[in-house]
Amino acid sequence: TSSGEAAKTYNIGVVVLDLQDPDLAHMTDAMKKTADEKGVKLNITDSKKDVGSELNQVEDLLTRQVDAVIMQPLDGDASQNAAKRVIAANIPLFILSTEFAEGSDVGYKSYIGVDDTVAGQMQAEYLNKLMPNGGNLVFAAGVYGASWTDRRKNGFDKTINENFKIVAEFQAKGSRDDAKRNMEDTLQRFPSGQIDAVVANNDEMAIGAASAIADAGRTAEFKAVVGVDGTEPALQDIEGGTMSATVRQDSAGQGVKAVEVVTDFLNGGNVDNRYTLPFTLITKDNLSEFLK
């Protein structure tokens, strides 16, 4: 069907779960760049971490009669209705990064991304290997109820071996500010020698926690401070030695891939049902490959 119709510019609707999240803003930029190269147009909308407005954004995209929708669901359960809306409108749907819950019947064309559960698993595997005898952990959770938090946390909980004990857990909403404040209190609660590592659901929180530890002059006590995302500041912290590792979720890469897959599909190409991008564990050892 693509023959001779090169003049047509496809409109692709994109629903990103939170454009105020730096990592996702970064991903969106990469997507725009790819779209320009491929000659398609992206209509990027923001569900602002609210399931209600996610649905509104999808509806508005349908009104605009886009040719395809790339959706980054807020939640594996609560976002299904919005996805079904797209299917019902006979518009091809592509799912980005967050998988729907098992057993769901949403008929999307492809899933492109990484499973957040894997990120949690990799954090746990790293610790299992680094500290075979286990130790006491502090867990910095993101936003309770948000799928990225739940999945990363679940993956971690299932994989971490039982020598480890989570002695404190706080909700820092993904923010450096909250993480630092809570970590400061936690450091007061546990004097030297009582905690061995910090696990955070994202890099911003890991940076905040690391900064609290550094301020308290207790960096040496901690065998590991682990985040997820692989953001630039986190890499710098790993280089500086305040953080020990992060699980790089190639957000930009997954966005680029999604745009490529959708463009292929619209041009009549065949697409797979599933494109899983690997997570990469970044530690001091392989840091140089990723540092700009």
């Binding site: 454009l19 509104n56 954004q57 509806e59 009104t63 939640d75 359960d77 299904q80 309770y144």
Partner: protein, 332 residues
């Protein structure tokens, strides 16, 4: 009987029935119809600028999207006319939706049970706010700041922060069904709006709501039970917010404990744009409906035109200021 109102006009002081200057009249006209004019201007602009804006589909879409904020805004209008405010509505949306979602799959055929439980939760939070405002004499801003925190905590604790998913069929119908060509949420919103308009403008209770907002002391002195009126408006506010939460949950086929976060400011903005005063005593349901639709149309239009979401909050702020300035010139 020998003196009619007309002959008396000349006897009255300058304050009474003198005709206004032209400038004053123009101002009044703008004040009275300014929001409608603004609304129409925005509609015309979007019809021209956003290709799919003026389709039946999109119009149904906008109204359906606005119906949740709209439902909450109805109750907020009552509360704000009594010079109160309710910051807890966002949390009530979350808590009531959660209650509904938790009970909906289990209750088998009993479609009404989870509905009633959800609304009951709204009533409960409304009662708590009202009790603090009336019996505790705590300012509404602070009392509902507290209930906002408490209701959100409850929503988080009962599900341990988890999302609840999968409602039964009839519950889903509430969110996604149609009656003829009209989506169910829109019908719920319009019926609720008509009832509220009627109650506020035609009944004794409605009149007392205005009196309490105008001068609570005086209302008390003429024998109005101001505590009853205040209790009623916070209960109405709780129920409409809960109803908004139920519709939201039904629309999404699931409930998150953080659902509705930040709705309070959107709702207050819509109500104020519709001409209700934060000082109380002034406001109508008609105005609120227009305020809600205006905000909804603007958000929809920006999406259709592909405006970056970064700007959306700022644009809302500017519209708010514009509307407040226009409302200034209202007559009386």
């Amino acid at each position: 009987m020998t003196i009619t109102m007309d002959t008396l006009k000349t006897k009255l002081g300058p304050a009474d029935l003198k005709e206004g200057l032209t400038a004053t009249r123009v101002k009044r006209f703008i004040g009275d119809y300014g929001i409608i004019i603004l609304f129409v201007v925005i509609l015309v602009f979007l019809a021209a600028a956003a290709p799919n804006f003026l389709t039946l589909n999109n119009i149904v879409n906008v109204v359906r999207q606005s119906s949740i904020i709209g439902l909450i805004a109805l109750g907020m209008t009552f509360i704000m006319i009594t010079a109160g405010i309710d910051l807890s509505v966002g949390s009530v949306v979350g808590l009531a939706g959660m209650t509904f979602a938790l009970l909906a799959p289990d209750s088998g055929g009993a479609f009404w049970l989870p509905l009633i439980a959800g609304l009951g939760v709204g009533l409960l939070v409304g009662f708590l706010s009202a009790a603090m405002v009336v019996w505790g004499a705590i300012l509404p801003f602070l009392a509902t700041l507290a209930t906002m925190a408490i209701a959100r905590t409850a929503a988080l604790v009962i599900t341990d922060g988890q999302v609840v998913s999968g409602l039964s069929g009839p519950a889903e119908w509430l969110g996604s069904g149609f009656l003829g060509p009209v989506p169910v949420p829109v019908i719920i919103f319009l019926v609720a709006a008509i009832i509220c308009e009627f109650v506020l403008s035609r009944t004794k209770f409605g009149s007392h709501v205005y009196a309490v907002g105008g001068n609570e002391e005086s209302a008390k002195k003429v024998g109005i039970s101001t505590s009853r009126v205040l209790f009623m408006v916070y209960l109405i506010g709780g129920v409409t917010a809960a109803l908004g939460g139920l519709v939201l949950t039904a629309r999404l086929d699931g409930a998150a404990p953080v659902a509705g976060t930040g709705y309070e400011l959107q709702v207050i903005a819509a109500v104020v744009i519709g001409g209700t005063s934060l000082f109380g005593g002034v406001g109508t349901i008609r105005g609120t409906v227009i305020g809600v639709l205006l905000l909804g149309v603007v958000m929809n239009g920006m999406n259709l035109m592909g405006v970056s979401s970064y700007f959306q909050q700022g644009v809302q702020g500017v519209i708010l200021v514009l509307a407040v300035l226009l409302n200034r010139w209202k007559s009386d």
